[in-house]
């Protein structure tokens, strides 16, 4: 049973560039969330996609946008990159686990470095 897969694993961009990160959810999961994790910090919620629509959004500027495809995979796009965007970007898919709880399953992340 494949878990959440993300690509690329590492990438380096310069300020002002644009980046696209990709995510395939765990089999059976239809909801995808994206998180930003700065070094030494906990994951910060960016947004969530369900049925190809953005359902929730955290406190991130419009430079951060996303998309979900009919096969539930998702992309995160970041425009006009800033140095402060350097972080580990985590994709998490969610589904119902034991006790009926909605469980988040994370991918290994995409490490973005902005120079």
């Amino acid at each position: 049973d494949a878990g959440v897969t993300q690509s690329p694993t590492h990438l380096i961009k310069t300020r002002g560039q644009q980046v696209t990160l990709r995510c395939s959810p765990k089999s059976g999961h239809d909801t995808v969330s994206w998180y930003q994790q700065a070094l030494g910090q906990g994951p910060q919620f960016i947004f969530q996609y369900y049925e190809e629509e953005e359902r929730q959004r955290g406190n991130f500027p419009d430079r951060f946008s996303g998309h979900q495809f009919p096969n539930y995979s998702s992309e995160l796009n970041v425009n006009a990159l800033l140095l402060g965007d350097s972080a580990l970007y985590l994709c998490a898919s969610s589904g119902f686990g034991e006790e009926g709880a909605n469980v988040l399953t994370f991918g290994a992340g995409s490490r973005l470095t902005v120079l």
Binding site: V4, T31, S33, G40, Q41, G42, P43, Q44, F45, Q48, Y50, R55, Q56, L90, A92, S94, E99, A101, N102, V103, L104, T105, F106, G107, A108, G109
Partner: protein, 114 residues
């Protein structure tokens, strides 16, 4: 109201000792409290979780203690091993606006000395 406060920031424990990490929340609407374990270069992985109607849950060497009245919960790692060295995140989740929302603590970096 949306914060989950986690302590300590870092923890060093001898092999065989007990590791204890604490979290506190404010919003009583949260109804699911998971702990995640993250190794360097990896994404967080679900370790153990609890609902607020239960005061304690144990899975192997890992135990969650939950105090609903104090709005606090903690992770206890018994017989800590060097392989437990990782960063641990607590989280709180609730259903709102048609979806589940998670708030994460800031993490505790655990080092278990051999």
């Amino acid at each position: 109201q949306q914060q989950v406060k986690q302590s300590p920031q870092s923890l060093i424990v001898q092999k065989g000792g007990i590791s204890i990490i604490n979290c506190a929340y404010e919003n009583t609407a949260f109804d699911y409290f998971p702990w995640y374990q993250q190794f360097p270069g990896k994404g967080p992985a679900l370790l153990i979780a609890i609902r607020p109607d239960v005061s304690e849950k144990k899975e192997g060497r890992f135990t969650i203690s939950f105090n609903k009245s104090a709005k606090q919960f903690s992770l206890h790692i018994m017989d800590s091993q060097p392989g437990d060295s990782a960063t641990y995140f607590c989280a709180a989740s609730r259903y709102t606006s048609g979806t589940y929302k998670y708030i994460f603590g800031t993490g505790t970096r655990l080092k278990v000395l051999a």
